[in-house]
């Protein structure tokens, strides 16, 4: 194969058509309130772990809902389970509960 000094950049686009959405669908069936998330980011803004690291809980749960699971389980280990996210969520979503569930169910990838 020819090498012209550059490669074809891998597209970092979330492609719902080709992603495996089976776990995402199961999660939403068991955790339906997640669908009311308005992506305000309050959970991330108040997050204790997020203040110290690049941990972003809104991003992680959004990725999982879109069938992007890679690296999520490992990232979730940063959560301190303090529960502040749950207190501030304007939609009353139990984010800490979600984190615990994902830590149990998502394979380490």
């Amino acid at each position: 194969m020819v090498n012209w000094g550059y490669t074809i950049t891998r597209v970092r686009r979330v492609d719902i058509d080709s992603n495996d959405m089976s776990y995402s669908r199961k999660l939403l069936a068991e955790f339906p309130e997640l669908q009311s998330c308005i992506a305000c980011g309050s959970c991330t803004a108040t997050c204790t772990a997020g203040n110290l690291t690049k941990f972003n809980v809104r991003k992680l749960q959004t990725l999982v809902r879109r069938g992007e699971y890679e690296g999520v389980r490992k990232e979730l280990e940063k959560c301190m389970l303090c529960g502040k996210c749950r207190l501030v969520c304007p939609r009353g979503i139990n984010i800490r509960g979600l984190v615990q569930k994902l830590k149990k169910e998502l394979p380490v990838k």
């Binding site: 012209w4 550059y6 490669t7 950049t9 597209v11």
Partner: protein, 355 residues
């Protein structure tokens, strides 16, 4: 909806055009500009004037942060002064980058009249010239679109597969600087650009709608000009090819020199880099300019249209259209002399299957 559609139509002058050529098209698709002039003058009987003193609009330098705004405004003013001197009012640039630049200058001068004053002053100080703004600014694809029904009436062939009798499927790709910077400057705005789709439909073809239809080709000037960024440039085209390939298009038509060039050349690059082909039988999807498409419809010889300059072999499309061509004349110039031939490669070589 109807009201919105009406709002996104533009006035396109019917005759008496001042033509401004494109720098890069003369290298990439050298036959297309000649085809535009021949179609307008000979087939449609319109008056088109061009001035050899016309220069590059310097748009690529401007978008690469090399040419400052004041300079490019003065260059634009000079082009307009040539038009004014020749007594024309309808400015027709052949390049989409230039079209974006002229639209930008006119918009800036409208919103900030002091900038227009400056352009008059700089031009006068530098050259002693004066200018009037054009009454009508239309891209060459707008002009072909404007005459599409007249071209259809004179057509020698339709965009139909001669073997199956079915309309050929065309992907239309609109340059970002045509519709996305100043949506009102283009036919159909940025969401529903109709300039090329209108041609395909008028000439009997079928327009392919696919998910990445409005995605950029990835040229983007500095995306390509810096070698380290080319992986990003090619990734954009690849995303489009992957999205359009399942719809099995027979051809792609683009109205921007950069898009036509990159959609053509990147297919070659992808085939060499990773062995992927987006057409059947290790072929690519032929990429045409709208002049080439109009020329084929009007019965022009494909080699006179400059189609031997394409990276993706165009013969599969010519066969579907029933165009008679002489394979041995492909690399002969106007004077019958050999013009050179690219090295053999899968996507650029074509041998007709004889069953």
């Amino acid at each position: 909806m109807k009201i919105a559609w009406k709002e996104y139509q533009k006035d396109i002058a019917d005759d008496n055009y001042f033509y401004a050529r494109s720098c890069i098209r003369q290298n990439f698709f050298p036959g297309s500009e000649a085809a535009f002039l021949n179609i307008l003058r000979q087939d449609l009987g319109r008056d088109v004037y061009e001035d050899p003193r016309h220069t590059s609009c310097t748009g690529i330098g401007y978008h690469s942060d090399i040419v400052p705004l004041e300079t490019i405004m003065t260059v634009v003013a000079r082009q307009f002064s040539l038009m004014t001197e020749a007594g024309y009012e309808n400015f027709v640039p052949s390049c989409i980058t230039s079209f974006g630049i002229y639209s930008e200058a006119l918009e800036l001068w409208h919103d900030f009249p002091e900038l227009e004053e400056k352009a008059h002053e700089y031009l006068y100080k530098a050259t002693g010239r004066e200018f009037k703004k054009p009454k009508n600014l239309a891209h060459t694809s707008d002009v072909i679109y404007h005459h599409r029904e007249e071209i259809a009436a004179k057509a020698k062939r339709k965009l139909v597969n001669v073997e199956t009798g079915r309309p050929l499927r065309g992907v239309e790709h609109i340059g970002c600087h045509y519709a996305k910077i100043f949506p009102k400057a283009g036919v159909g705005g940025s969401e529903f650009p109709y300039v090329l789709a209108g041609m395909i439909e008028a000439w009997g073809g079928e327009v392919v709608d696919y998910p990445e239809r409005r995605h950029c080709c990835g040229f983007g000037f500095r995306n390509y000009l810096v070698m380290a960024n080319r992986g990003y440039s090619i990734a954009n085209s690849k995303q489009k090819f992957e999205s359009m390939a399942p719809y099995k298009p027979d051809f792609i038509v683009a109205n921007c020199p950069g898009c036509a060039m990159f959609l053509d050349k990147w297919q070659y690059a992808i085939s060499e880099m990773e062995g992927t082909f987006y057409g059947p039988d290790r072929q690519g999807i032929p990429v045409l300019t709208y002049e080439e498409l109009a020329g084929l419809v009007l019965g022009y010889d494909p080699w006179d249209l400059g189609m031997q300059m394409h990276q993706v072999a165009v013969e599969p499309l010519l066969d579907k259209l029933g165009v008679e061509y002489d394979p041995s004349a492909k690399y002969l110039g106007k004077d019958g002399k050999f013009i050179g031939k690219p090295e053999e490669c899968a996507i650029g070589s074509y041998t007709k299957n004889i069953l």
